[in-house]
């Protein structure tokens, strides 16, 4: 039985500019996966941005040294396709009966298409939202799973006036994304507008019932002598039968001696 919980996918990612491969996502995750960091594929920064990946692989210089940023093509000049990238990795996992596996992206800028073992899923736009995909039925019975993600830049990357200025031509404000990336009085423009899988990617194993977004709050009375902890959570039954559950909540305080007060 696979262990319940999270495994972060933060290593062994590859990346390539989408225009440099002629394969689609189904082919990349079935018959024609990349074999390693062989050109045009390169080691990827995940979590991170496309520009971070290009810097990591020495394709472009680090923009934060000297005037290096001037040597990097801006998305307004190159077009969005130039910073549209494939990211690829593999993971192994075998589930037991009644177990479920979710593929989680804590944030992507700006939208993406996900392919797992040949199956396509579309991640809608928005830089500050989590995506959670139940991929239980898509897992490879052999245990090795091929994952490819095509990441698209913001829809309105804008252009940078020659004199610079706060937020460039302001186009980025049309998207729900960071706005400093068109440049500010303290910052040069970020050439890829922070396109990428910029926050944690993970897989998460549960049984039939999953805990979603618990909320903790407290109330105070009698000069903090009486305090109440209030907790609410969503519980999702992914199974096909009624789930009879024992739900336990516990609050402990670790003392210096590593004892827990219960």
């Amino acid at each position: 039985m696979a262990e319940i919980g999270k495994i972060v996918l933060d290593s062994d990612w590859l990346a390539v500019r989408s225009t440099e491969v002629q394969l689609n996502g189904t082919q990349l995750t079935t018959t024609h996966p990349p074999t390693g960091p062989n050109s045009p594929w390169m080691p990827a920064a995940v979590p991170g941005t496309v520009l971070g990946t290009l810097v990591k692989s020495n394709v472009v210089p680090d923009p934060f040294y000297g005037l290096n940023n001037e040597a990097i093509l801006d998305i307004a000049v190159s077009g969005r396709e130039y910073y549209t990238f494939w990211f690829f990795t593999t993971f192994e996992h075998k589930l037991s009966r009644n177990q479920h596996l979710e593929l989680n992206f804590r944030a992507i800028n700006y939208s993406a298409e996900v392919y797992l073992n040949g199956h396509q899923m579309v991640l809608p736009k928005g830089m500050f939202r989590r995506h959670s995909l139940d991929v239980t039925s898509l897992l490879n019975p052999g245990g090795r799973n091929l994952l490819a993600v095509l990441v698209h830049p913001p829809e309105h990357p804008g252009s940078i006036p020659s004199e610079g200025g706060q937020g460039g031509d302001h186009e980025i404000g049309k998207d729900v994304a960071t706005q400093y990336v068109e440049g500010w009085d303290w910052m040069a423009p970020i050439r890829d507008r922070n396109t990428g899988i910029w926050d944690e990617v993970s897989i998460y194993v549960t049984g039939p019932v999953k805990i979603i977004d618990p909320h903790l709050a407290s109330t105070f009375f009698d000069n903090y002598k009486r305090v109440y902890l209030h907790a609410t959570t969503e519980l999702q039954n992914k199974g096909t039968l009624v789930a009879e559950c024992d739900v336990t909540i516990q609050a402990t305080l670790d003392t210096k001696e590593s004892f827990c007060l219960v």
């Binding site: 810097v55 049984g207 903790l216």
Partner: protein, 236 residues
């Protein structure tokens, strides 16, 4: 006394929202900002066992008991904060992000935030033109006692001002903005360092967004305090 197990039935394929009976604490250790006391945190864990299966899922989160109140002072126009009913003189740092290529790491966050605490600051303001900061950022603010003023993604320079004049109506897709805001609140709301949500930088968001944020972030009456004349005072 700080352990409860409840039986719950969940229909097949359904999601329910469940509220536990409140858990009583007598004189718990409180969480204080940097310079006012310890940053005590309890570990709160939730686990679900399914009959015929066993442990199905578990979750845990360090949690600090603290009450943060703030209001605009009518004489100075400034915002005054209290933590656990004690006035606090805010010494804040302005934060954009840790790295422009979003090479965000726990190690870097810890160093940056520990440095803020070492400078005797007690608040970090996350500017609306950059990120809703990540849980790792908040984790270290919890540990080092930095209150966080978190802005949503609106700036005057991109939404209403600038040359040429920018669109004052915020992003094109207001529903998407609110969806992202709701999800961000759910991601960060349990951190004791989270002190204040702000609509944006130097700008009021478009009315529909602003009203939705104010409405959805207002406290449940259960969590409001009332003064002697019956006027409610909100706190997070």
């Amino acid at each position: 006394e700080h352990l409860q197990t409840i039986h719950v039935s969940i229909p097949a394929g359904k999601t329910i929202q469940y509220t536990f009976p409140e858990i009583f604490f007598y004189k718990p250790e409180l969480w204080w900002p940097n310079g006012m006391g310890k940053q005590t945190m309890y570990n709160v864990s939730i686990a679900v066992d399914v009959k015929g299966y066993g442990e199905s899922d578990s979750w845990s989160q360090p949690y600090g008991f603290r009450k943060i109140t703030s209001h605009i002072d009518s004489k100075t126009g400034g915002r005054l904060f209290k933590v656990n009913d004690q006035p606090i003189f805010i010494r804040g740092g302005n934060w954009i992000l840790s790295d422009g290529l979003l090479r965000l790491s726990r190690r870097r966050y810890e160093a940056d935030i520990k440095f803020h605490a070492g400078m005797n600051l007690n608040m970090i303001r996350c500017w609306g033109g950059a990120l809703a900061e990540r849980p790792e950022f908040y984790h270290y603010c919890d540990i080092y006692g930095l209150l966080v003023w978190q802005e949503f993604w609106i700036t005057g320079d991109v939404d209403g001002r600038g040359d040429p004049i920018s669109n004052p109506d915020g992003p094109l897709d207001h529903e998407l903005f609110l969806l992202c805001a709701r999800d961000t609140v759910k991601l960060l709301r349990n951190h004791p360092s989270l002190a204040l949500w702000v609509g944006g930088n130097e700008q009021v968001p478009p009315p529909d967004i602003n009203n939705a944020l104010k409405n959805e972030l207002q406290l449940h009456p259960h969590f409001m305090e009332f003064d002697e004349i019956g006027t409610s005072t909100q706190y997070l």
